[in-house]
Each structure stands twice: as structure tokens, then as C-alpha cells.
Symmetry: C2
Subunit: 448 residues, 2 copies
């Protein structure tokens, strides 16, 4: 594939300009910004590639850009998303989050790692294939959704309604890249999630804090309610929460032993002396991949500005995500949470359902998994790491598991320092170019 | 005092314009805004009255405007403050907080009730006295500080350094007005306070929330730490916290029985079905005036915007005030808090000291108390209510108790609906004019 490489080399500045163009649109799903504009950008780019495109939508959700291109006995479904996380807190960014900025061999911008970089490089790899190798040896379907960062709210409905359009022999997941040891990573599943906001309410307006002698304080109510969810031992106290947790299979555990742990590097990077409970090595990895969580993602009540303000807040809010493992059910967790709060005396606390997703774990021996591994070996010259699942969440269940499609991540530009979801999200330029080659090689290996 | 009344009547529009002028300066001490400008405004206004003025300062704090005017055997110290609470959240104001706005017989603006209204009306009452009654029959000292809303940080040092300038036979406190039954109120003390910010820290930056399996979450640490301070039973769990609480005296309790409670009106106004623990009547009042509190005034961590963001926060903060009753010591509470958090396993949580003030309760039979009551009776035509203490906080201890000066509130334009410290802070115009008369009458009664 020397011509492929030469072509990519010749198109570098145009490819990066395209990436900058899509980063520039602040497609923050949680804030309903730039959605249609970004969908249109992606659709037009896929048309320029020669794909047939359409927008799929259900229940008034953000449109999924759907595209097909190529022919072959095997069909590859490529799943990406064009929405991004909020960029707040803005003041911690060293350059404006929606202006792709190059510094020290890295590209900074909200969404450049999650997931606009992978989306663009996969499209660009196919362009390079068509320009240098001719026809595609497989049929490729793109499914590029716009609600990944808000729990893929309407994706399950889209998958049900357009199941026939989405069936494939394998799915290339949105994520991909190298780990902290620069070894390529392939994953075969994702955790699920249930995201909620808890709201405690007090008086009808903020009061002078001297009234705290006899007026209920929602910030205390929320604190006490949260404390019933999880204590310092880290165990979730909601009855039934762990009942459906499926233990890892023998194959899952065998894969685990091939994964390097790099405790020291992680500790240094995160600025920590110790992990929770002093976890290390395989124990940490096992908990990371196969156990559910209950995480406070946000807290707000009363006065949060500079200095002191003696106020008795009239409202307190907590954002919480539960990461779920097979065979937990998001709706069931929601139900258990309500029942638990009621039983603990917190029936007054409102639960806002901000979306749920099923967990999923696919077969490790599928063709797409083997193609992802073989192409990684070829391009990176090192043995890739196979993860039975990501610790993160994605709609693997409705898009793959429910349709019987095996899944693998790969052909992406991620690395350990991407800071996805955080300020100063970034990718390394070298990873971007290498991932285009990974994608090209993956097409060839998946064709068989 | 018919000529006094006629003079006030003739100056109404000028007096209100002066009030608007001082409200316009956003003197938010917590944010270090408009301090010098407001101090200068107050000093110039007092000079126009004919007072001798100077600025008193200690430890680099905001200047206290000090002024003296008049002669007489008795000296009255008038304590007010020119700083205000932050106006946030701005979006809940129906008119801009720093533009005095009249609606339905009320004046809206940050600080109009707490405490710029009382400051201006007292100055204007003295102007009316001088214009209509001639010389003042007493000596009046103004002590107008600029840090009341940030726990009067340097006032104790000013009081120590300038004790000789501040001695008086009685002190008219900043607050004053009528209660929910339109009866004038006189108070003889104030609770103390210890304000702190607790900070829990985790990784060196916000992480993707999937890491919650093994990375400590400061929002959980803070929640658990807060939970050790106070539980749903409302008792503060910090060892030693209640040790110094002085039980109310017989005179305090006797005064209590003359105070109307108005539970139903308060419940309706606050939009509540019940008070804490179902408290009512005297029990509620007794707890309100004679018991300390521990109040979460603010909470913030992670993502607090719209929708969901799956983030593991790297920091969590809580603002907490402890309202103290005699003979609790702010520094001791701070020390107890640190010892308690350490003992409970939260040595990692930082405590930021945002200021403390001693509680104070003065004699109920002092001349200034009797003058405040008599003048209230005269102007309002109803029996005033005598509170042994406010539930709120002010620097009564350094300014009065430590110098042996009895204290009373009164001659103010407060009413039940002022919403001090909240959005839409307001006074009623009619109260403003009446309080000017209260001030005039108080001068006469205090002269003896």
C-alpha cells in the first residue's frame, strides 16, 4: 500500500483543514448546539466520498448520518458520533476549545479525540483507498449519530426502526488507538449507563441562612440522600444493584492477563499517590472492566462564587452516573434507586432520568475482532492488546448485540493523554496519520 | 415634631435619589467591588451633614467610615455597613440589582434593606433634626463598616485600635423595622458565626467518569465528610460543639413569650408545609434564637450545566456557616471541626477559614433599649416586640460587648418581605419614611 501512503502524505494539509472545520462547529448535544449543522457537514463529506447518504431519525432525536459505499461479500458497519461533550470549564483550556490548535505535535480541541478525529480519519482512509486501490472490497455502512454524549437517547429507537439498514458482519466501534505503552488496543464491548439528576427542594426562594434553625436545607437533604447511595467503603448500597452482575468468563479473564497495567504511570499522570482501596494490577483492571460504578459527576447548590455568602439554598442538585456491566438493566437501576430513596426517607427528592444504555460484551473470536488485531499488528509492528470490554459506555447493545453483529474498536487516533471529556482534549498528529493506515489495513483484512 | 415631618415630606425625592446613588455602587465585599467608592460616598454625605469624619482601618481591611456630630451628655453610637451581599443569581432578579427600582410601593435593589436604606434614612433623619429642631441633644458617632457581609473581618482589630473613639452610652444597631404583624422590633444582641469552605481534591484534572472504578472522587469524599458533620436528626456531630452553649436567662425567656410567632404566615411565605422537626410557636422561637446551626450555604463540583456530562470531578467544595450563640468561640469551632474531620478519616479535606465573629447578648433594661422601645411606641402606635437577640449575625461583640456598650436595633425600614441576601431584595417606601421619624424620636428619647 505504498500508493495509499503517498496519497495520504500528499493530502495532509487538506485532511487537517477538514478536521479543523468539523471541530469548529460546537456540536454539544447536552446544550443542543450545532447539531444540524454538523450532521449536514458529515453527510456532505460522505457524499463527496461517493457514498449514498440519508438521515435516520426517531422520536425527534438528533439525526444519525447514514451512508453506504462499496460492494463485497462482507459488510462493515462503522459507528462514530458527531456530537461532543460540553467544553466547560472554558477557563482551563489553553486554547479555544472549538479552534483546532497545534502545539508540540498535538492537536487540541473539544471532540478531536472523542470522536471527530476518528470519524474524519476513517473517511479519509476510504478516500485514499478509492484513489489508490480502486473499488472497495467490502460494503461499508457509516452510522454517525449525534447523541452519543447524552446516552444515545434515540439510537435504540433508530436501530429498531432501521434494523435492516444496519445489519452487518462486523462493526468497527468509534474508539481506537494506543495505550500508555504505545501498543494498539482493541475492545469488544462497552459498559452501560444510567444517568440521573437528583433534585432536593426547600423553601420557595433562597433565604438568609439564619433561618436554618427551622427551615429545611435541600443541600443537607441531598447530602444525606447521597450518603445512602454509597459509603466510604465504595459499595453501592441500593438493594439489588449487584444482583445481575455477570462474572467475567474464562476467556475474558484470560484476555485480562495479557493487558499491561502501568499502575505507576497512571498514578503519576493523574497526580495521585494511591488508587481507591490501594488497588493495583490485575485487581484494579478486573474491577475497572467488570464492576459497575455510582459516580457523582456534578454537585451544585446555593452560593458557589468567591468568598462567603450566608444563604440557605432553596435547591440542591447532583448529577450521577451509574456505569453498568452485563446483565444490568438501566431501567431497573432507575427503579431500584427510586425505591431505595423512598425507603430511606427521601421520597421528596426528585429523580430526573437523563438517559440509560445497556451494557454489552461481544465474542472475542469474531472476524471483525481478528481483522482489527491483524491490521494493528501490521501497522504498529507490536502485539495489540485485546480488552473484553471498554470501561466506558457506548450503544453497543442496540447497534450490535441486539442485531447479532460482533464488534471491535480500532483504527483510531486515541492515546493515553487525550483528556477526553476534560479541558485540553487532544490527539497526537503522528497517531492520526498512523490510524489512517490502520483503517486501510483493516479494510483489507476484513475483506478476508 | 411637625416641622421635622414637613421637612422630610419636602425632601422626599432628594432623599430617594441619594438612596439610589448608593445602591448603584455594587459594593460587594466578597468580590472586592466598589468598596473605596462607596466609603467615599458615605464620608462625603456625612460631611455634608456637618460631621467630622475620618476613615479607620486595620490589617489592610476595607475602611470604616467614622464620623461624629452633635454634643450632649449621652453618646449614641450608630453602627451601619456600606457593603452588600453578592447579587447572584442575577437571572432571578426582576429588575437590575444595582438600579433602585420602584414597583408597587416597594423599592428593589441589592442592599436597599441590608443595610444602605437604614444608613441613609438615619443620616437623613439627623439632617431633618438639624434643619428643624436645631442642635442635636446628644453626641452621635457613626461607625459604618465595609466588611459586614464577609464576617466583619477586620472590625475587631479596628475596635481594639480605636476603642477610645468608639465608646458610647448606647449603640443603635444596623437593623430595624417591623415584623410580619407590622409591629416594630427591637433586638439586643446577635449570633456569632464561623464561615468555612471545605475543599476535597482528587486527580490533578477532571477525568472521564469511567475511571471511577479506581480513582478517588472528591465529590464523594466531600459528601461523606459533610455527612459526619450533621445527620438527618439535625444535631451537629462535632464533639464539643454544644459545650459552651449558654442557656437563655429568665429575662430572655420572659421576653420570648411576648413575641408573636406567626407560624402559618411564615410557612405560606416560604412555600413550606412544615418546619424542621415539625417545630411551631415558642419551641421554634427558642431554637431560632438560642441554638447554634451548621448550614451548607453552597456546594459545587464537576459539571453543573444543562443535561449530562460523564465526568469524574477533580475537586469538590462546600461553603458552610456555623451560627454561634453565647458563649461559643469561633476559633474553637474551627479547631473542633479540624479535629473532627481528622478523627473521621478526612484529614485530606482542606478547611478554608472565611471569617468568624463572636456571639453577643446585651442587657434588656439599658437606656438605648428603652429609648428604642419608647420611640417605636410613639411613632408606630403599637407595642414593640423585644427580642433578646437576633438570629442573624453582626459584630456586636467587638463593637459593644467588649467596650461595655449596651445595644439595641431599631429606627430601620425592614419588614418581613425584604428578602435580604436573596434576589429581589426590597423595602416598602412607607416603612422608609416612618423609620426616619423613628430615628428622630429615638434621638429625643435617648437624650433623656
Amino acid at each position: 500500500m505504498e500508493r495509499f501512503a503517498a496519497y495520504v502524505e500528499s493530502q495532509r494539509s487538506r485532511f487537517l483543514a477538514e478536521l479543523a472545520d468539523i471541530v469548529r462547529i460546537p456540536s454539544v448535544a447536552a446544550q443542543n448546539r450545532g447539531i444540524d449543522e454538523t450532521a449536514s457537514f458529515v453527510e456532505q463529506r460522505l457524499r463527496r466520498l461517493g457514498a449514498e447518504t440519508r438521515l435516520l431519525q426517531a422520536d425527534g432525536g438528533n439525526p444519525m448520518v447514514y451512508a453506504t459505499i462499496g460492494n463485497g461479500s462482507r459488510t462493515l458497519l462503522i459507528y462514530d458520533h458527531y456530537d461532543v461533550q460540553p467544553a466547560e470549564p472554558f477557563e482551563l483550556w489553553q486554547s479555544p476549545p472549538f479552534e483546532l490548535t497545534e502545539r508540540d505535535g498535538k492537536l487540541y480541541g473539544r471532540g478531536v479525540a472523542d470522536n471527530k478525529g476518528n470519524l474524519m480519519l476513517r473517511i479519509q482512509a476510504i478516500e485514499a483507498w478509492l484513489a489508490t486501490e480502486g473499488e472497495l472490497p467490502i460494503r461499508i455502512i457509516f452510522a454517525v449519530e449525534g447523541e452519543e454524549e447524552v446516552s444515545s437517547r434515540t439510537l435504540p429507537a433508530v436501530c429498531r426502526e432501521y434494523a435492516d439498514l444496519l445489519r452487518a458482519d462486523g462493526c468497527l466501534w468509534e474508539t481506537g488507538g494506543v495505550d500508555i505503552n504505545e501498543r494498539p488496543v482493541v475492545t469488544c464491548g462497552a459498559k452501560g449507563i444510567q444517568y440521573v439528576e437528583l433534585v432536593a427542594r426547600g423553601a420557595s426562594y433562597d433565604l438568609h441562612s439564619s433561618y436554618a434553625t427551622f427551615v429545611p436545607n435541600p443541600a443537607w437533604r441531598l447530602t444525606w440522600a447521597l450518603n445512602t447511595l454509597k459509603g466510604p467503603d465504595g459499595r453501592v448500597r441500593i438493594p439489588g444493584f449487584y444482583d445481575r452482575v455477570r462474572p467475567p468468563s474464562a476467556a475474558d479473564l484470560a484476555a485480562l492477563t495479557t493487558i499491561p497495567t502501568n499502575d505507576e504511570e497512571l498514578l503519576a499522570d493523574f497526580g495521585l499517590d494511591e488508587f481507591l482501596d490501594g488497588l493495583r494490577g490485575l485487581d484494579r483492571l478486573r474491577r475497572h472492566l467488570f464492576e459497575p460504578t455510582c459516580t457523582i459527576c456534578g454537585l451544585v447548590s446555593g452560593y458557589t462564587g468567591e468568598g462567603s455568602k450566608t444563604v440557605l439554598p432553596n435547591e440542591a442538585r447532583a448529577k450521577i452516573d451509574f456505569r453498568l456491566v452485563p446483565d444490568m438493566e438501566p431501567a431497573e437501576v432507575l427503579h431500584q434507586l427510586r425505591r431505595h430513596l423512598d425507603a430511606e426517607g427521601f421520597a421528596d427528592i426528585e429523580i430526573i432520568d437523563l438517559g440509560g444504555e445497556h451494557p454489552a460484551r461481544g465474542p472475542l473470536d469474531a472476524a471483525i475482532v481478528q481483522a482489527a488485531l491483524a491490521s494493528a499488528r501490521e501497522v504498529y509492528g507490536s502485539e495489540p492488546i485485546l480488552y473484553p470490554t471498554m470501561a466506558g459506555t457506548g450503544p453497543v447493545y442496540p447497534l450490535c448485540t441486539a442485531l447479532g453483529t460482533p464488534v471491535a474498536s480500532g483504527a483510531g487516533c486515541g492515546y493515553h493523554g487525550t483528556r477526553v471529556h476534560s479541558p485540553n482534549e487532544n490527539i497526537r498528529l503522528a497517531d492520526y496519520w498512523r490510524a489512517i493506515h490502520w483503517m486501510g489495513s483493516l479494510i483489507r483484512h476484513f475483506a478476508g
